[in-house]
């Protein structure tokens, strides 16, 4: 009985991956978004993402159970007292197994998955959590804002009551790492695309997508057995959608960059097996003025590859947005920033080098 537990544990995780794949690590509408056999419904039955829909806060900080997938995604590029770069990731994914959202309690059709990770130049540790909706093990409440799974929390601190996301406390821990960070927004929420309607690909896949890219982060981070005081920048992404990736869309690359002059950049590319890649991006001025980048306005090109978890992965990139006078190379803090989880992908801090330098996070899937 025991002898096979390793293999069985693996198959169980793989099955969970199937259940949650559409939410997993998804900047787009999810890898294998057909969902798990017999569990997923056609995207048509879920609520559609339509242009012209106005996002309303704090209502839209809360879950949208009629949509298939949704996440609350924070990445923080931090420096410790010695100035060394490090990073933290805190993510909560929601996945609806049926369009009606299910019923009360255990009848809920919502499945939750949490990912948390910490990165230093020499280590990268990631962990995951799973939960059923409906009973309180995981969820998101708007007022006061609280997102949680088990003992991982992203919530309004007690001394800052209210519904918004202006101040948050972000905690997670597992074997090998722990962090407890206070986030304080230094700028406004940013709507991507057309007032939050973000078209991902020419074939019509889209999501509702907004961010809070202006967090100043401060707190403590433990990794490699050393707890250190850290501070830096954090970036929150909120996104929900119902449409899966097409079979010929092989993966994506996503950048969230904070430049030293105060500007922020989001760049996102879906790779196609054939034909041209899909591209979206947002240029955010230091004052919060955001501009959606046109399809031909930016260029992303890998310049350096490394073997990560057995895969050839482009860890160095050349980015250029001529219209903003932005030319840069990114280098990873730790090229082996592989989240070896049920849903596995590369996610880690990067340095931006060039005339306008900075720090940020890079996510890559499908390599």
């Amino acid at each position: 009985m025991r002898r096979s537990s390793g293999r069985r544990a693996f198959t169980r995780r793989a099955a969970l991956a199937g259940l949650l794949a559409s939410a997993g690590a998804a900047r787009a509408q999810g890898v294998g978004g057909e969902g798990f056999a017999g569990l997923g419904s056609a995207a048509d039955d879920y609520a559609p993402v339509v242009p012209g829909h106005r996002l309303v806060f704090p209502r839209d900080h809360a879950p949208h159970p009629a949509f298939r997938i949704e996440w609350w995604y924070v990445t923080a590029a931090l420096r410790d007292a010695s100035g060394a770069l490090c990073g933290a990731q805190w993510t909560l994914f929601r996945n609806a197994l049926s369009p009606d959202g299910g019923g009360e309690g255990w009848d809920s059709a919502q499945l939750w998955m949490g990912h948390a990770a910490a990165t230093s130049a020499t280590a990268h540790v990631a962990a995951e959590r799973f939960a059923r909706g409906g009973v309180g093990q995981a969820g998101v409440k708007p007022d006061p804002f609280e997102a949680w799974i088990d003992d991982w929390r992203l919530a309004r601190p007690d001394d800052a009551p209210g519904p918004g996301l202006e101040r948050l406390r972000m905690t997670a821990r597992d074997q090998g790492f722990a962090f407890d960070l206070a986030l304080d927004a230094q700028g406004p929420l940013i709507m991507h695309g057309d007032d939050g309607f973000s078209r991902k690909a020419e074939r019509g896949q889209a999501s509702y997508y907004y961010s809070q890219p202006f967090y100043a982060a401060e707190g403590r981070l433990r990794i490699e057995g050393v707890e250190r005081a850290v501070s830096g920048h954090a970036w929150l992404d909120r996104e929900w959608s119902s449409q899966p990736l097409d079979p010929d869309q092989t993966g994506w690359d996503w950048f969230s960059l904070t430049l030293e002059d105060g500007a922020r950049v989001m760049l996102y590319r879906i790779r196609h097996r054939e034909g041209r890649d899909s591209f979206t991006g947002t240029w955010i001025a230091p004052d919060g003025a955001a501009r959606t980048l046109g399809r031909d306005e930016a260029d992303l090109a890998p310049t350096g590859w490394e073997t990560v978890a057995g895969r050839e992965t482009p860890v160095r990139w050349r980015l250029s947005i001529p219209s903003e006078g932005f030319e840069a190379e990114t280098r990873p803090l730790n090229a082996q920033a592989w989240n070896a989880l049920t849903v596995a992908y590369w996610e880690g801090p990067v340095r931006v080098e060039g005339p306008r330098s900075g720090v940020g996070y890079l996510e890559m899937t499908g390599y």
């Binding site: 009985m1 025991r2 537990s5 056999a37 197994l97």
Partner: protein, 821 residues
């Protein structure tokens, strides 16, 4: 070359003496068969519990639950998760779906610890796949047999408790168990929000002492899984079976030892010839070893096949016993692992070595020159008998010492082993002494010769006679225990089943309805409602039984010990009656105070009486009905006793069945309850009976084999007597009489040993294993029957050789003189 022809010469012996070969093979095969049958039964049963226990437990996980037992709110699960505890909720219970009651196991597949819990559900695409449980309609996992009983094929949808479920067949699940999502379980068990326990990986890395603070003292990490209780209870049953298997194995080895020893003695001359022809001693020993391995393999394989057959025949009985006696989820199916085959054959080889080892050692060290003495082993063996008697005395004394001061089941069985082994070793000495005594008293020459000759022949027969004696004693002992138990049990049932009709009304509403309607039913003179609650006392599961204060109980409820006014104390909520086994486990007696958990704080109860509660693995504590309702309002109601005039029983039963307002209420009359209980009892001991009979059969074969091989060798002893004018017919009769006299002596020896065994089983093993003491009954009628049976077996065994003797042509008797040697 040398080895090959040596082995061929050794084996040629068996070709010339097929009877001896058959005896050796039969001995090994029977020993293996009984042993492996018992092992197969044990394995099958254990596998069932393991699956049941490992379903949500086992070594890789720990359980967190209410220390006093009972369900709790799933909010505690969330509390612990949010404190970082990797727990997963489990709800277990029994639910009636259709005709039968099923064990329902509700799990939460998303948080269930990987590697431990569901890993045990089966090898192939188990419910590791959460979709099997979480799909729509929700899944229900069960063995194909269980699904068949439910009436749904693999993948088909079926209705249960108002829900639509999709059946999914999984081999390796516990029998009669449905594994469902916890949400489904909460509905099937009508327990919204309830959780029985939480499971966590054994190495959860948290400090269990945090639990008290996190849950307000409501939850604690359990030392062992609740199924551990089951394991403890069923262990005794298995230990019984194993002891039986071992006994049978030993009896079989006696046969093998006798056959091998005889064959070795008969081949001493051959061995010397082999040495003279240039076979090194080592080669001869190796050839003997190879020969033995051939026999062990052949006998072992035959024995395994036979053992499988026996086990397959007994398996349903064993499963039924375990289910009935302990509520253990045993399946009546045998699934045999390679380990079983290997261990069975291993036992045969080890046994064969044990039986033949001394012979082989002697062959290896046999001087090439010592004169061959084929009949040496028939000669007195006085020294060996004396040594054995000495060892026997030591063992019997050790047995008595353990009986006086030992404690626990292992000690009890050690005592039994010493007793049996001591008696076995003492048997030849006792028989020899008896024969010597007879010889000294005999006057007539023929009688003197008979006594002396019997004594001389004892060496060859003593093993077989010892086997017969052990088998007889076991039969007497176990028979006394079983019959005594049955008599006590019947008497207890008569007392305990005081009401004429027993009624179960499932659910609070029906119970209320029945209670209101019952007094108006025809012929009912009293309604005796009861309530039960499950609690834990010192970690033991205890059933709290609330009884209404009524003359029926005061007059009929069987009590072993009681204080004056015990029932008054019970009615007042100050006292409780404890079942014998509970009192024993809690180590309390009259006047001690036990504290039951009440809804609003502890409920101290003085022990005012002890009652027998045979066959109940749980402890039972009887309290007053009204105090129970006050202290534990959640106590389940629904069972009633009805006092009815005997002639009105049928009318009352019909009235209950006919009343539409009482739909779902089940009534059973006292006679049916007794029938069921006794049926269960008989089933439990059917296995014991079958093994008993087999053991006696094996002993018979041993006797037959020994007599058959001896008869040929006894010609030289008989020829002179014949020459002196005793007819062959007379000689044959004397031979027969001699065997019967020995068998009778064995039976006489077996009676006291059997009685001692009965005492040990009833007074020691039973008390240690089950927690109840039975009055020791002795059944001389049964002994007489068994003695007759033993004589019958001996007569059957002796008949063949004796007939041959009567028909031996005079020429062969003459030949003895022609080739005197």
């Amino acid at each position: 070359m040398t080895f090959r022809w040596t082995l061929a010469a050794l084996l040629s012996h068996w070709r010339r003496r097929p009877g001896q070969a058959a005896a050796l093979l039969a001995g090994l095969a029977l020993a293996t068969a009984l042993w492996s049958a018992v092992q197969a039964l044990n394995l099958a049963a254990r596998d069932s519990y393991d699956r049941a226990a490992a379903l949500l437990g086992g070594a890789a996980t720990v359980s967190i639950a209410r220390p006093e037992g009972g369900d709790f709110d799933q909010a505690l699960f969330v509390t612990l998760r949010r404190a970082g505890w990797p727990v997963s909720p489990v709800l277990e219970g029994r639910a009636r779906l259709g005709e039968r009651t099923w064990r329902i196991v509700g799990v939460e597949p998303v948080t269930l610890p990987p590697g431990a819990a569901l890993a045990s559900l089966g090898e192939d695409a188990g419910p590791d796949d959460p979709a099997a449980l979480l799909g729509r309609p929700r899944g229900a996992l069960a063995t194909p047999e269980t699904l068949e009983a439910v009436g749904a094929g693999d993948g088909e949808a079926f209705e249960a408790g108002g829900l639509t479920l999709r059946a999914a067949a999984r081999d390796g699940l516990a029998p009669a168990t449905l594994v469902v999502d916890i949400g489904v379980a909460q509905r099937l068990l009508d327990a919204p929000g309830a959780v029985s326990r939480l499971v966590a990986p054994a190495r959860h890395g948290r400090d269990p002492s945090e639990l008290a603070a996190l849950t307000g003292g409501r939850l604690a990490q359990l030392e062992a899984s609740p199924d551990g209780d089951l394991a403890r209870l069923t262990d005794s049953f298995h230990l019984n079976l194993t002891a039986f298997g071992l006994l049978a194995f030993v009896v079989g080895l006696f046969i093998a030892h006798a056959a091998v020893g005889l064959a070795f003695e008969q081949r001493l001359a051959m061995l010397r010839t082999l040495r003279a022809c240039g076979v090194p001693a080592r080669t001869a020993a190796l050839a003997l070893l190879a020969e033995l391995a051939c026999f062990a393999l052949a006998g072992g394989l035959a024995g395994m096949a036979l053992g499988y057959l026996v086990a397959a025949l007994l398996a349903p009985d064993v499963a039924a016993s375990l289910r009935g006696l302990y509520g253990a989820p045993a399946s009546g199916e045998l699934a045999l692992a390679p380990a079983w085959w290997l261990s069975g054959l291993g036992m045969t080889f080890a046994g064969a070595m044990l039986a033949a080892g001394s012979g082989i050692w002697r062959a290896a060290n046999l001087p090439a020159l010592a004169p061959a003495q084929p009949l040496a082993w028939l000669a007195g063996h006085e020294r060996r008998i004396r040594a054995q008697a000495f060892a026997a005395t030591g063992l019997l004394m050790l047995s008595a010492m353990i009986a006086r001061s030992g404690e626990g089941l292992v000690a009890a069985f050690a005592m039994l082993a010493c007793l049996l082994l001591g008696a076995a070793l003492a048997t030849p000495a006792l028989l020899s002494a008896g024969l010597a005594f007879g010889a000294a008293r005999a006057r007539r020459p023929l009688a003197r010769w008979l006594w002396a000759d019997a004594r001389a022949g004892l060496g060859g027969l003593s093993l077989a006679l010892t086997a017969l004696m052990l088998a007889l004693a076991t039969n007497i002992g176990v028979g006394s225990m079983v019959t005594g138990f049955r008599d006590t049990f019947t008497g207890w049932l008569d007392q305990r089943l005081a009401a004429e009709i027993y009624v179960r009304a499932p659910g609070e509403d029906r119970a209320r309805a029945f209670e209101a309607a019952a007094p108006a039913l025809p012929g009912v003179s009293a309604v005796l409602p009861t309530r039960t609650a499950e609690i834990r006392l010192a970690g033991l599961p205890v059933e709290l039984l609330g009884l209404r204060d009524h003359a029926t109980y005061r007059a009929r409820w069987p009590l072993l010990e009681q204080e004056a006014e015990a029932w008054d104390a019970v009615a007042a909520g100050e006292g409780a009656l404890l079942s014998e086994q509970l009192a024993r486990r809690l180590r309390v007696g009259l006047g001690d105070v036990v504290t039951a958990p009440g809804a609003e704080g502890p409920w101290p109860l003085r022990v005012v009486g002890l009652h027998p509660d045979y066959g109940n693995p749980k402890g039972q504590m009887v309290v007053g009905l009204d105090p129970l309702m006050e202290r534990l309002p959640q106590a389940e109601r629904g069972a009633f006793g009805l006092r009815v005039a005997p002639e009105r029983i049928e009318a009352t039963m019909s009235a209950i069945t006919a009343d539409p307002a009482l739909a779902g209420v089940e009534a059973i009359d006292q006679a049916a309850v007794k029938r069921l209980s006794l049926g269960l009892f008989d089933q439990t001991f059917a296995v014991t009976g079958a093994l008993n009979a087999l053991t006696l059969g094996v002993a018979g074969v041993a006797l037959l084999a020994s007599l058959a091989t001896l008869s040929a060798m006894r010609l030289p002893q008989l020829a002179p007597v014949w020459a002196m004018g005793v007819t062959r017919r007379r000689l044959a009769l004397l031979e027969f009489g001699r065997t019967m006299a020995l068998a009778a002596a064995v039976a006489v020896l077996a009676v006291p040993l059997g009685a001692a065994l009965a005492w040990a089983l009833v007074e020691v093993v039973n008390v240690q294993a089950f927690g109840w003491r039975l009055p020791l009954h002795l059944y001389p009628g049964q002994w007489a029957l068994l003695a007759a049976l033993a004589l019958g077996v001996a007569a059957l065994a002796a008949a063949g050789p004796v007939l041959r003797l009567a028909r031996t042509p005079p020429a062969r008797l003459l030949a003895v003189f022609a080739q005197e040697r």
